[in-house]
C-alpha cells in the first residue's frame, strides 16, 4: 500500500516536470487553444490533488473539491483562450488555476455556507476580494454562454457528438462526415440543424 502511494506521488511529480520543461509558453497556449486532449488531461490530472487537499483542509468534501476544481479549470481555459490570461510557462498556468480554485472556495465559504452549489459561471470577480479573475467576465455574455452550455447538455446525442467534434475537437467537417458515414453535404446540413436545435433550446429556457 505504501508502495502504491509513493509511486502515485512520483508519477505526479514526473508529470509536472514534463509539463514544465517539455513545453514553451507558446506550446501551452496553442495546445489549449486547439483543446489538445492530452494537454488538457495532463493539466487536469496533475493539479487536481493540490486543490483537493486545499478544499479538504478547509471544511470541504471530495465532491465539492471536484466541482470547484472543474469550474476553476473552465475559467482558466476560457481566459487563456481569450487571451485574458497569458501564461509565461506551465508553472504560472498551474499557479493561476490554483488561485482561481482557491478564491472560488474562499468565496463559497464566505458567502454561501448553506447554498448547495455555486452556479457554474458565477465568477469570482463579483467579490472584491478575488482579484485574480477580476474583470474577466462580462455578466451578460457570461450568462448567454452558460445558458448555451446548459442547453448543449440537453441536446440529442448525435448532435452533441457532431458539434463537439467540430467546435471542440476542431476536426474538419470532412473527417467528421467520414466517421459518421455521411457525405460532406449532409454533414454540413446536419451541423446547421443541430446548431438551430441548440439555439431553439436556449431560447425556450
Amino acid at each position: 500500500m505504501y508502495l502504491a502511494c509513493s509511486i502515485g506521488i512520483e508519477k505526479m511529480q514526473k508529470d509536472t516536470v514534463n509539463l514544465n520543461h517539455g513545453k514553451s509558453q507558446k506550446d501551452i497556449v496553442s495546445s489549449l487553444k486547439i483543446n489538445d486532449e492530452s494537454t488538457l488531461k495532463e493539466l487536469y490530472q496533475t493539479n487536481y490533488f493540490k486543490i483537493e487537499k486545499f478544499v479538504l483542509n478547509n471544511n470541504g468534501s471530495q465532491e465539492q473539491a471536484k466541482d470547484i476544481y472543474q469550474e476553476a479549470f473552465i475559467v482558466m481555459w476560457s481566459n487563456v483562450k481569450d487571451d485574458k490570461f497569458i501564461p509565461q510557462n506551465a508553472t504560472s498556468l498551474e499557479g493561476y488555476l490554483y488561485q482561481i480554485a482557491k478564491n472560488k472556495w474562499m468565496d463559497y465559504l464566505r458567502s454561501a455556507h448553506y447554498k448547495k452549489t455555486v452556479p457554474m459561471m458565477q465568477s469570482v470577480d463579483k467579490n472584491a476580494q478575488s482579484d485574480v479573475a477580476a474583470g474577466l467576465y462580462q455578466e451578460e455574455e457570461e450568462d448567454k454562454v452558460s445558458q448555451a452550455m446548459k442547453a448543449f447538455e440537453g441536446l440529442e446525442e448525435r448532435c452533441k457528438k457532431l458539434l463537439s467534434q467540430f467546435y471542440f475537437e476542431k476536426k474538419s467537417l470532412k473527417t467528421i462526415a467520414k466517421e459518421m458515414a455521411l457525405d460532406p453535404a449532409s454533414a454540413k446540413n446536419k451541423k446547421y440543424r443541430c446548431m438551430q436545435a441548440l439555439r431553439a433550446l436556449v431560447q425556450t429556457k
Binding site: 496553442s30 487553444k33 486532449e37 488538457l40 488531461k41 487536481y48 448567454k144 448555451a148 448543449f152 431553439a200
Partner: protein, 253 residues
C-alpha cells in the same frame, strides 16, 4: 426575448457565413466586407453575437464532459492519498528504501552498459541526434491548421500522433518538402529509420527546398543509426549544415 426570437430562422447559407467568420475561416477581403456589413446591420450583429455565445457554450459543454472523464481516470493511488488526511509515518522509511533500491538498480544498469555497450555508430547517433525543434504554431489558413495540429503533437514529442496527423496531408500534397522533412525527422525520432530515409530523400532531391541542408543532416543520421556508414558519409558530405561537418570529422577520427 421577442426580438431575439424572431431571428432564429436563418438560412443554412447565412449560418455558414457567420460560422466561417467566427471560426476565423474567412479570406481578408470577405472578412472586410463582412465587417462593413456588421457596422450597418444590427440584425446581423445580433446573430453573430448569438452564435458566438452558442459556439462557446458548445465548447464549454464539451470540455465539461471531458473533465468528467479525466476525473474518472485519475490515478487510483492519488485518490487514496487525497482521501486520507495526514502523512504516513512510514513514508520516510519507504523513501529511504526506494533510494537504496534505485542505487542498486543504477549499479546494475551501469554494469550492463559496460558489458553491452552499443556499437559505435549507434553511440554517435545518440550523441548527435536531436529532433528539429519544429515550427512555431500559428493558426492561419485551413490547410495549415491540420498541419499545425500535428506540429503541436510533434513538439510534445508525440511522434506517432504527429505522423498520423500528417500522413493524410502528404497524400494530398505528395511533393511537400515541409511535410516530408518533419515526417522524416519524426520517424527518426520514433526509431523508424527506414521510413525516415524515404521521406528525407525526397527533400534532399529538391534542391530548391529551404530544408535541403537540414534534411541531408538527418538523412545522414538515419543511415548512421542503421550502420550504413558509406551512405551516411555521402549524405553528410552533401549537406552544408554545420552539424554535418562536425559529425563527419568525428567519423574520420
Amino acid at each position: 426575448m421577442s426580438s431575439r426570437g424572431k431571428h432564429i430562422d436563418i438560412t443554412q447559407e447565412a449560418f455558414e457565413t457567420i460560422d466561417r467568420y467566427l471560426s476565423g475561416d474567412m479570406e481578408q477581403t470577405e472578412r472586410d466586407k463582412f465587417e462593413q456589413r456588421l457596422l450597418s446591420d444590427a440584425v446581423l450583429r445580433e446573430q453573430v453575437e448569438a452564435y458566438r455565445a452558442l459556439f462557446k457554450g458548445v465548447e464549454m459543454g464539451s470540455l465539461k464532459a471531458k473533465l468528467e472523464s479525466f476525473h474518472r481516470e485519475l490515478p487510483e493511488e492519488g485518490k487514496k492519498k487525497g482521501g486520507r488526511s495526514g502523512k504516513s509515518v512510514f513514508m520516510g522509511t519507504f523513501a529511504r528504501y526506494a533510494v537504496a533500491a534505485s542505487v542498486i538498480f543504477f549499479i546494475l544498469l551501469g554494469s550492463w552498459w559496460i558489458f553491452n555497450s552499443p556499437a559505435r555508430h549507434e553511440q554517435l547517433f545518440a550523441n548527435h541526434f536531436k529532433p528539429d525543434p519544429g515550427l512555431a504554431t500559428v493558426m492561419s489558413s485551413d490547410n495549415d491548421y491540420d498541419f499545425y495540429v500535428g506540429m503541436v503533437d510533434y513538439k510534445r514529442e508525440e511522434y506517432q500522433k504527429a505522423l498520423e496527423q500528417w500522413a493524410p496531408l502528404l497524400e494530398e500534397r505528395p511533393g511537400s518538402d515541409t511535410l516530408n522533412y518533419f515526417m522524416g525527422v519524426a520517424y527518426l525520432a520514433a526509431g523508424q529509420e527506414n521510413q525516415a530515409i524515404a521521406h528525407l530523400k525526397e527533400v534532399v532531391e529538391n534542391q530548391a527546398s529551404p530544408f535541403v541542408q537540414e534534411a541531408g543532416y538527418y538523412l545522414g543520421l538515419s543511415y548512421l543509426k542503421h550502420g550504413r556508414m558509406e551512405e551516411a558519409r555521402a549524405a553528410f558530405a552533401k549537406s552544408s549544415d554545420e552539424r554535418s561537418k562536425e559529425i563527419l570529422k568525428e567519423l574520420d577520427n
